[in-house]
C-alpha cells in the first residue's frame, strides 16, 4: 500500500499528509451518508412491517431508490428564511447540527488500527463533541423567532443535557475497568478474561459486568438523539416539528442527516464500549469489521423497534427518568464497580 502510493505522494509533495487525510475522511463520510440514506429506508420498512404495512416499495426495486428520490426532492425545494428570523444564526443552525455529528467519527475505530485519528483521549473527545450537538438545536430554535421552534429547542436543550449526565457516568464505569481513554484500547481490553479463554468471548465484554450501565447508555442514547419514545422535541401533536418547523429544503435535510448520523454514532459507540467492537463473539471465528457492523445494525434495530412499539413519553416523565432514576442508578454503579475492582473478586486484574 505504502509503496504503491509513493509516486502519488511525491506528486503532492509537502501537502501529501493533508491530501491523504482528506481521502480518508471521504472514505468515512461517503459510506456513512449511504448508511444514513438506507437507515431512513430501513426505518420506514421496519416500522411498516411492524404495523402490517409494506412500507415504501414504488421507487426502484423494493423501494431501494426511495432515499435518493427523497434527497433529490429536498435539493430542489426552496430554502425559506423567515422574515422574523435572525438570518445569520438561522443559516448557522443546521451547520452546527451536522458538523459535530460528523466530526465525532474521527476517533471511532472500525478495526484494529483502522481509525482516522488514534488519539489517546478519544472518549473525552467524544464527550466534548457530542455535547456540541445541542447548540445546533438551540441556535435553530432561537433564530427562527417562532413559537414552536422556540418551545421545541427549550425542551431539546433540557432533555439532552439531562441524559448527558447519566451517559457520562456510564462512560466513567467503562473507563474504570479499561483504564484507558483510547477507544481501540477499550475494545482490546474486552478481549480477555475467563470466558474468553473458554471460547465464549461475548461473555467477557463490558455489557455483562456493566449490565445496568449498558441499559442506561442505550436508553440515554435514544433520548440524546431525540428519538421516539423521547421525541417530545419534535412531537408533532405538541410542537409540530420542534426546532425544524421553519426549515425547508437542504437546510432541513441537514438536520435530518445529523439526526440519523447521530443514531448510527450512538449505536457504534455502544458496540465499541459495551459489545466488544470488532471482536468475534465466539473463539473459533475470526475478528473483523463485519462484527462491528453487525452489532451496530442490531442496536440500530432496537432504535427502530422502540419507535414502533412505545408511545411518546410525557415531558415531566422524561425529566424524572433522567434525574431521579438514571443518575442515582449510575452513581451507585460507579461506586459498586470501584469496590468490585478493589475486592478479591475482581475480574479485571
Amino acid at each position: 500500500m505504502e509503496a504503491m502510493l509513493e509516486p502519488v505522494a511525491q506528486f503532492f509533495g509537502p501537502t501529501w499528509p493533508l491530501v491523504w487525510t482528506l481521502v480518508k475522511i471521504v472514505a468515512i463520510i461517503a459510506p456513512l451518508m449511504i448508511c444514513v440514506a438506507y437507515l431512513t429506508l430501513a426505518e420506514r420498512k421496519v416500522i411498516g412491517y411492524m404495523q402490517v404495512r409494506i412500507g415504501p416499495n414504488r421507487v426502484g426495486p423494493l423501494g431501494l431508490l426511495q432515499p435518493i428520490a427523497d434527497g433529490m426532492k429536498l435539493l430542489f425545494k426552496e430554502i425559506i428564511v423567515p422574515s422574523g428570523a435572525s438570518k445569520g444564526l438561522f443559516i448557522l443552525g443546521p451547520i452546527l447540527a451536522i458538523a459535530p455529528s460528523l466530526v465525532a467519527w474521527a476517533v471511532v475505530p472500525f478495526d484494529e488500527g483502522l481509525v482516522l485519528a488514534n488519539v489517546n483521549a478519544g472518549l473525552l473527545f467524544l464527550l466534548a463533541v457530542t455535547s456540541m450537538e445541542v447548540y445546533g438545536v438551540i441556535v435553530a430554535g432561537w433564530a427562527s423567532n417562532s413559537k414552536y421552534p422556540f418551545l421545541g429547542s427549550m425542551r431539546a436543550a433540557a432533555q439532552m443535557v439531562s441524559y448527558e449526565v447519566s451517559m457520562g457516568f456510564a462512560l466513567i464505569c467503562v473507563l474504570l475497568i479499561s483504564a484507558s481513554l483510547n477507544l481501540t484500547d477499550i475494545v482490546l481490553s474486552q478481549g480477555s478474561g475467563r470466558f474468553h479463554d473458554m471460547g465464549l468471548s461475548f461473555l467477557s465484554w463490558n455489557w455483562l459486568p456493566l449490565l445496568p450501565m449498558f441499559v442506561v447508555f442505550v436508553i440515554s442514547g435514544i433520548a440524546e438523539t431525540n428519538r421516539a419514545p423521547f421525541d417530545v422535541v419534535e412531537g408533532e401533536a405538541e410542537v409540530v416539528a420542534g426546532h425544524m418547523v421553519e426549515y425547508s429544503g437542504m437546510s432541513f435535510a441537514l438536520f435530518f442527516l445529523a439526526e440519523y448520523a447521530n443514531m448510527i454514532l450512538v449505536s457504534i459507540l455502544t458496540s465499541v464500549l459495551f459489545l466488544g467492537g470488532w471482536l468475534s463473539p465466539v473463539g473459533f471465528l475470526p475478528d473483523g469489521f463485519h462484527w462491528l457492523a453487525l452489532k451496530t445494525a442490531a442496536i440500530l434495530f432496537i432504535f427502530l423497534w422502540a419507535r414502533a412499539t412505545f408511545p411518546r413519553f410525557r415531558y415531566d416523565h422524561i425529566m424524572r427518568l433522567g434525574w431521579k432514576v438514571f443518575i442515582p442508578v449510575t452513581l451507585v454503579w460507579v461506586i459498586v464497580v470501584a469496590v468490585w475492582m478493589m475486592s478479591p473478586l475482581s475480574i479485571w486484574r
Partner: protein, 124 residues
Amino acid sequence: MLESYFPVLVFILVGLGFGIVPILLGRLVAPWRPDSEKLSPYECGFEAFEDARMKFDVRYYLIAILFILFDLEIAFLFPWATVFQDFIAAGEHAWFVFGAVMVFLAVLVIGYIVEWKNGALDWE
C-alpha cells in the same frame, strides 16, 4: 502526540464544509421566490400574536445549572477512573485514592439530596 489530532482538525473543517455546501447548492438549484406570506412565522395559519421570544419557565434554567455541576463532576472523575487500576495494581494507596473520591462524591450526593427535597427536580 499533538500531530495525532491533525486529522481531527481537518475533519472539523470538512464537517463545517459539509454543512455549508448543501445549503449553497440548494440556494443555487432550488427556486427562490420569497413572498411575505411564505416568510411569515408558522403559527397554524394565524398572524403571529406577539414576539416568539417569550418568557420561559425558570426550571429550564435550573436544569442547566444542575447540568453544569454534574458534568464538571464527571470531568473530575475522568482522570481518577483512568489511573485507578494502576493504583490497585500498585497496592498500597488504593483505599486512599478510593476514599478521596468517595468524599468528593459524598459532597455532591448531599447537594443532590437537598435539591431533590427542595423540589428542584420536580417538573410540574
